[in-house]
């Protein structure tokens, strides 16, 4: 199959490969470039999936340590590879939390909003959306978070999750309908 990777993405892959080569040859500090480059979208994913900033931080930390330990195994895009590690970390955490019926602190709210006053006004909507997201099956939540919170295209999502655009559209549409059914009465 012919690959149609955009030129800027090819440059990015090359730049990442260069950093990986530096890290593998002993330049440990070079790994921080990769952390800074990719941590924001990965953090948003983990936060959207778990609803807890503390858990999202832990998942990100474990994922980057795992990535560092297996760095020689990277083939192709580093960002896609590390995304899969984070996504699996989130799924494992969700599986464990269901099994043990542990509940994390519901007051544990996302951090990093631009304006604290704005944050206060929207606390209710935020926590309602978080609660509604937690009720969705993992695959629907994942698709919704990637589309609406991370702002990814369906094509990019399909590449990262190794599935089809049609299947993802279906998941996002079902997630929207479920969220609307849960929250519409209060917010429409």
């Amino acid at each position: 199959m012919k690959s149609t990777v955009p030129a800027d993405q090819v440059d990015q892959v090359d730049a990442d490969q260069e950093i990986i080569a530096r890290v593998l040859s002993g330049d440990r500090d070079a790994f921080s470039i990769l952390i800074h480059r990719y941590s924001d979208p990965l953090f948003r994913h983990a936060l959207g999936m778990t609803g807890s900033p503390d858990v999202a931080e832990d998942i990100l930390q474990m994922s980057f340590i795992k990535a560092y330990s297996h760095l020689a195994e990277v083939r192709g895009r580093f960002d896609a590879w590390v995304f899969r590690i984070v996504a699996n970390g989130c799924k494992d955490w969700l599986k464990n939390i269901r099994r043990t019926h542990l509940s994390y602190d519901e007051d544990d709210q996302p951090t990093g909003y631009a304006n604290p006053e704005e944050e206060l006004d929207l606390t209710e909507l935020r926590s309602d959306l978080d609660r509604a997201l937690q009720t969705l099956p993992v695959s629907l939540r994942e698709a919704f978070v990637m589309k609406h919170v991370e702002g990814r295209s369906y094509e990019e999502m399909a590449e990262l999750l190794s599935t089809t655009v049609g299947a993802l559209k279906m998941r996002v549409h079902r997630a929207r309908e479920a969220l609307q059914a849960l929250l519409e009465e209060k917010y429409a």
Partner: protein, 142 residues
């Protein structure tokens, strides 16, 4: 020469009341004189708008209008979440927790790894294979 007649509809009503004959234009089917309404948007239009595949639907009523309003509110929240950044201390925390060296070699599955055998192990394997061969031959020949 044709002139616009603002009072035409009134006259038409009068003519109807009087039971008089109507002009050919007035006999035109009702549909020809109606302003077409915009197509009624469905939930699918809202999905297509949210997917960035269609402009924001207009002229929605009832359930669809509520749906649109709802997604406007949700988009405000998801936009805010899209601006969330990693806490500044996290990168340092991760760097401090890394092992001293990254694995320079890929962890290969056992069947891809190089095999090191001592001469004694090679002799033992050869004797074993020869014995198995003899047993198999006896079983086949009876």
């Amino acid at each position: 020469m044709n002139l616009d007649d603002m009072y035409e509809p009134n006259r038409r009503d009068e003519a109807a009341r009087e039971g008089g004959k109507q002009s050919g234009e007035n006999n035109a089917p009702l549909a020809d004189r109606e302003v077409p309404l915009p197509p009624v948007a469905t939930l699918d239009h809202v999905h297509r708008w949210l997917d960035g595949e269609a402009p924001e639907p207009t002229g929605l009523r009832g359930e669809q209008a509520r749906s649109l309003e709802f997604w406007h509110r949700m988009e405000e929240e998801t936009d805010r979440r899209r601006r969330v950044v990693t806490p500044p201390y996290l990168a340092d925390r991760i760097m401090a927790a890394l092992p001293q060296t990254a694995s320079a070699t890929a962890i290969a599955p056992w069947w891809k790894k190089d095999m090191n055998l001592s001469p004694a192990a090679v002799v033992a394997l050869a004797v074993g294979a020869f014995s198995l061969g003899l047993i198999a031959m006896r079983l086949v020949t009876g």
